[in-house]
Symmetry: C4
């Protein structure tokens, strides 16, 4: 039996929990999530692939909180990111309102389906889905042993799965800025607790697990948003 078997078993339990959680949610509750989940997951993958090496590619106050806890960004930097993220979310929803209508924005606001879930349950579900998302971010972005260049699509995949599972239940924000933008434009704040508290709690719990259970043998890395030299690998294109 190899060293670290208990840590490995914890990882196996978490991973299996995640896949059963997601598949049961999709089949048991949500069913119409395909284009929304794919659009959300693929845009985040594309943005992380193209801009992640510049700012870190958070685009999500919960991920910034996790990076702050992990000391990959300082408090002032995190505050600047949070302002930028909430402002960016509001502008994204504002463009939809100005070009189409306020009803479109209201229909695109994340809200809790109270026939299916209580507020406490919605916070727990958003926390669990974001916990999985932040574990994926830590495991692919901060862990040097992860396979090369997979992090944009691993993060996008965690969003596709989590959003598909939660869309008809909590809205599937997994990100306070995703909830805030359309809410501030449409005035629909019903889902506030779910999209604000849930992701922040999930991100903090993911940091606790990663810091104290998973990463015990890992070397430290420099702060997250520092500039890096070009990688030594093959150049991408002419």
């Amino acid at each position: 039996m190899a060293d670290g078997w208990l840590r490995n078993a914890v990882v196996e339990a978490i991973g299996t929990m995640a896949l059963v959680f997601v598949t049961v949610m999709v089949l048991g509750v949500s069913g119409l999530a395909t284009p929304a989940a794919l659009a959300y997951g693929f845009i985040v993958a594309a943005l992380v692939a193209s801009l992640g090496h510049i700012s870190g590619g958070h685009f999500n106050p919960a991920i910034t909180l996790a990076m702050l806890l992990a000391r990959k960004i300082d408090v002032l930097g995190a505050a600047a990111y949070w302002v930028a993220q909430f402002a960016g979310g509001a502008v994204g929803a504002l463009v939809v309102m100005l070009s189409t209508s306020e009803e479109s924005v209201a229909a695109g606001t994340t809200r809790v389906n109270e026939e299916v879930v209580s507020i406490g349950g919605a916070i727990a579900l958003e926390a669990l889905a974001t916990f999985i998302l932040v574990l994926v971010v830590f495991g692919t972005v901060l862990d040097e042993r992860s396979p090369v260049s997979v992090y944009p699509f691993a993060i996008g995949g965690a969003i596709i799965a989590g959003n598909a599972g939660l869309l008809q239940v909590t809205g599937g924000a997994l990100n306070p800025a995703r909830g805030f933008g359309p809410a501030v434009v449409s005035g629909e704040w019903d889902g506030l607790a779910a999209w604000l508290a849930g992701p922040l709690i999930g991100a903090a719990l993911a940091w606790v697990l990663y810091q104290f259970v998973i990463s015990d043998r890992q070397p430290s890395k420099p702060d997250f948003p520092e500039p890096v030299p070009p990688p030594p690998g093959p150049s991408l294109l002419p």
Copy 2:
């Protein structure tokens, strides 16, 4: 005619069999599988990308069985993984029950559609889909000649295809822990034979094929869950 042509022809036959099997199943029997299959495949891809370098990224008792047969994990380690996987699956379903309802978990339990398939047929279908999944794991994770960093999404792709094909027939578990979690929470055990025996049989058959036909020229690698040094490639992110 190159050396190894018979082995290569076996590989071509298996691959072509797999793609015809999957496409005929989807078109002929299942038709509504998109969000469920995508969520299942992408969450496994994300988990394997982020946690695979820590525990091996099985999250599936059938894959652990295959790795035990391939001597990449020892018996005690495999037993610990199995306990962790079944416990994780149960927790995943329990969270859904506590936050929504037992009916949601029942609706998300994998079950056999007996209008379409017999129990024996369901076991055979789960076995074949898991056989393909485990071949993909062996070919991308254990085989050093595979392309770099593709294994998370290759494994996720095998799950998307297999689940899309089987969802309306056997439930498309491809994984005993995927079947066990919601069954133990909801008390619906109808699909037990399909999701338990099918994947274990398929995984064992995949190991037989890989061991005795496909991998004859392959160098041995160290045990699966050992720690590895950071890869020498380009560092991923700041």
Copy 3:
């Protein structure tokens, strides 16, 4: 607080704006976009992966405009690309007409849904979606710090997301040649302003942002369509 925090905050704001924009559009307005968006995104990913190292993999006059502004192609080369792209788009639609019918081509023409959006709004939406697409191209193709080999699927992901969001609103061309081909074959020119002006404006704005805000520390690279030696990485296949 790290150097470049203002640039990083701009990047975070843009990224968060993009994801809220896309998810609100899909949920609020479009809902049936899955197969069309996936086909569009995956064919572009496949073409960029297979032909991008030969011609640069634009396949889009708006991307050629952005590369001309970025001095990665000269004016004559860009003119040749534009002629090729519009001609290729027309041939693609002509094949559909000759093998099926003119009605099929008319049904596949991008058009503005005037119940949902004004012409000005449609131009703005196409401009914003193409702005995000060109940012992704710049960030993954021109920026040497981006992760290895992700650019085909990052670009495809930006198209899946943008097209899924806009399909029922502006048609979701994100590319003047995508609009031109079926329009010239079917004679349906209603969406002209949206698919022609929108993407060109968005591409120019993406270049402005990239040139003056994002790329300030980046080393220059040679002209875009020059031949390159084989990469030093592992050879792909036998």
Copy 4:
């Protein structure tokens, strides 16, 4: 204006043609293709990622024809592959019949929708979609300048797009073995011309274009199915 501008313009025209062709087909004719196209594309991606370095990962008589024309496989080897591929396709459909019913196989057989397309049109459409698929194979598998490790998903992406576009029209086989397997089991041979002649013609045309226009500056590589040493890159997993 860079050298090779005419070749580059041809590439741009082909690529733009491909994307307009696919998007117009999906929107204009097919609309329900999502789970079938995803399952087909992702299973091929997974198989090519896991078994491509062993047999070459054809799984398609049309690709074997293209590799024979490109002298990457000899005639006897190609004949063995063809027998294996047609036999594998038949076994895949046979498993579906034995575990479910002959009607399931009949429903999964590729057939031509004669309300929408003539036989000649169906052959042309299958030829064009397979032409694009084989271009992607050549450009990512044989061309050493392509990005690292993208070929499985580029090939899968070409299949998702082509199948989504053609599913309701010609069946979207893009592969004679995909057509043959369910046809020989169910006895439904109506689509024979489309799924047999179309892909073979398309593959031969792709070879002509690649050989005489695209690949003029490319160094030769050894025969396709030869064994290769492990790549020097980072080892994948423990």
